[in-house]
Symmetry: C2
DNA sequence: ATAAATTAAATTGCACACAATTTAATTGTG
DNA sequence: CACAATTAAATTGTGTGCAATTTAATTTAT
């Protein structure tokens, strides 16, 4: 009985649909697909949109600052920011005080894009077909989990 | 006042930390990083581990079946499965009944790997520092969201 | 029965993610 | 002051994800 129970437990722990990690992974990818057509109108990919969210909150930040807000490293951000610079959304410039740092600042076109992005959150909430309080609660639970995982 | 309220609402809707999508995205990436050292011992990447979870539940499935279980397409799965075949974990073979299909079957080494993977869920739950019932509840909420998004 | 439509994988091309390394600048220590 | 340690970006290489297309097999409709 004892070993039988252990086997059952082990098996159920390896079931795909019992995995929180897979729920997060597949739902995050589904979210990205939902954003895709909305962001295509703005000429942004989903990670680029995240960069814009940071910059619309606080312009002129270092790459490392973007990285700590988004949990991404320079290996991801450097090429991504170069593409966004080529698209005319932002400018990359070495900091004068600390030559190691590269500051990222929105261009006028980048700032203006915020107005066109304003409708996106509403579209997403509608697609989620879920009461706003539940979405807020779910967001907080997932953030709390992230905090424990990155601690 | 009316336009002021609208502006405030729009702004808060674009705050990074109010985005469920970003919570899911960043937490999913954090989860993947948590798995990385555990899976490295087994010679698996995280998406490859997901393939193994499916195959340990049901061996000998078509690529399309894997895709619908994992919400991934052949563009992702084909090269991934070729790497797993090269690693000796599974075999790819054209179906006799339907020559369009490619069946994926575990090798003996692939089946045996399940025993070594058995300890992984426990490690992850421990790292999440979260009561099991809460993890189960969160999993179900995220799955429900995925269902609404993919509907 | 056969042409058109559909389906299943594979392929191609692009954009992430990230570990590991490199380069360059700054900080800390004796 | 010199020099080791640290820090910030960039680079390199591997492995996803996915849209769009291609190839080949099967199904459907006529």
């Amino acid at each position: 009985m004892g070993s039988n129970k252990k086997t059952l437990t082990t098996d159920s722990a390896l079931l795909l649909d019992n995995q929180l990690c897979f729920a997060l992974y597949s739902t995050s990818l589904a979210m990205t697909k939902l954003y895709k057509p909305l962001l295509e109108e703005l000429g942004l990919t989903y990670p680029q949109y995240l960069v814009m969210l940071v910059l619309w909150e606080q312009d002129d930040v270092a790459v490392s600052e973007l990285g700590s807000r988004l949990y991404l490293d320079s290996g991801t951000l450097t090429p991504l920011l170069k593409r966004m610079e080529a698209a005319g959304l932002l400018a990359r410039s070495r900091s004068a005080e600390d030559e190691r740092r590269v500051n990222i600042a929105l261009t006028e076109a980048g700032r203006k894009l915020k107005a066109r992005a304003a409708r996106i959150p509403g579209c997403v909430v509608r697609a989620a077909q879920c009461p706003l309080p539940e979405l807020v609660s779910l967001t907080q639970q997932v953030q709390a989990l992230r905090q424990r995982l990155t601690a």
